[in-house]
Symmetry: C2
Amino acid sequence: MKIGIVGGTGDIGEGMTLRLSPKHDVIVGSREEAKAIATCDTCREALHERDQECSLIGGSNQRAVDEADIVILAIPFKHVIPILKALTGFEGKIVVSPVNPIERTTHFSYAPPPEGSAAMMIKGLLPPDATVCAAFNNIAAEKWRALDEELDYSVAVCCDDDSAKHTVMEIVNSVSRLRAYDAGPLRAASVVESVTPLLLNIARFNRLKDVGIRFV
Amino acid sequence: MKIGIVGGTGDIGEGMTLRLSPKHDVIVGSREEAKAIATCDTCREALHERDQECSLIGGSNQRAVDEADIVILAIPFKHVIPILKALTGFEGKIVVSPVNPIERTTHFSYAPPPEGSAAMMIKGLLPPDATVCAAFNNIAAEKWRALDEELDYSVAVCCDDDSAKHTVMEIVNSVSRLRAYDAGPLRAASVVESVTPLLLNIARFNRLKDVGIRFV
């Protein structure tokens, strides 16, 4: 299974590249191809220093879609609509949304679009035979990048297609100590996405950094 | 500090009584006083069998409000309005809401009232000098009652008053291995309450029971 990371040069995209490319073939996508190639070089170097092999190529976001079976949208909520409108070829792909619509005032709150969640909005923007999965919503970018630390978290996965959900849960379980949990249909993604503003509040009001979650 | 539990004879109320009465003076309230007294007898017996002392009296919900400094509303969301409309005397009290507005279809989802959360709705139903705190939202009733197991969870606490928040966090930390976290102002309670439908989905779709949460 080839994994394409749209927005693969952002904080979370680079972290995902570091964690996924030793296990899977990864295509790092970016709006600027040169940036994607530079990110691949940085990641390859960091992994080689730790004696880890990896399978990595950098290119445009469109190439990350075209060449992958599974496309991860590692982009902020506010960029989802313009980026998806500029891309084609999602037919038959599994599309993973780690996207969280969040507002910041005196605290962080969940600010979903009219569709109810980022995941449901993304489903509406893609062709009907693309399969959207919400996953990886509640892991901080810094933790993805901290290669010398284990990622010891629970990951809730929402999807309407059992086979795609199973595939994504296997990818989750292939990374560090992440444990995937079936969190129901895609419509249930709102309560997964809304954990992220909670974790940001917990970090902020308790002077912690990069708080994650475990189901126990 | 005296703790009154409105709805103290329900599943979660009885569990809270078992866990809180060895550490604090607890007044168990019920719409039927006889039921409250029976619950106190049951709890006292269960605690004595485990060589634990407790401070417990049973009475009406109104008595649980009148005699307590801190009132916990251990009632389902759908009963909040009728029960609060029937009670008086909340002036100057700390009112703890573990209430979660949840809808069940093919999955569990968060169904907040127009105020944005159960906690904010409760604030609007009480006199202005009552201080509402959201706490204990994400712990299953069965776990409260399982006296021979530790409660090893994180508890998010939301409140607009620092002193009341501190008091409630100390009560949280007095119970088993619960760890209180400041989760910001009361307006941030929606992202705390919405963890509960997520935990119910995690339990349901992974065939688990009574799933809880830890911030790590």
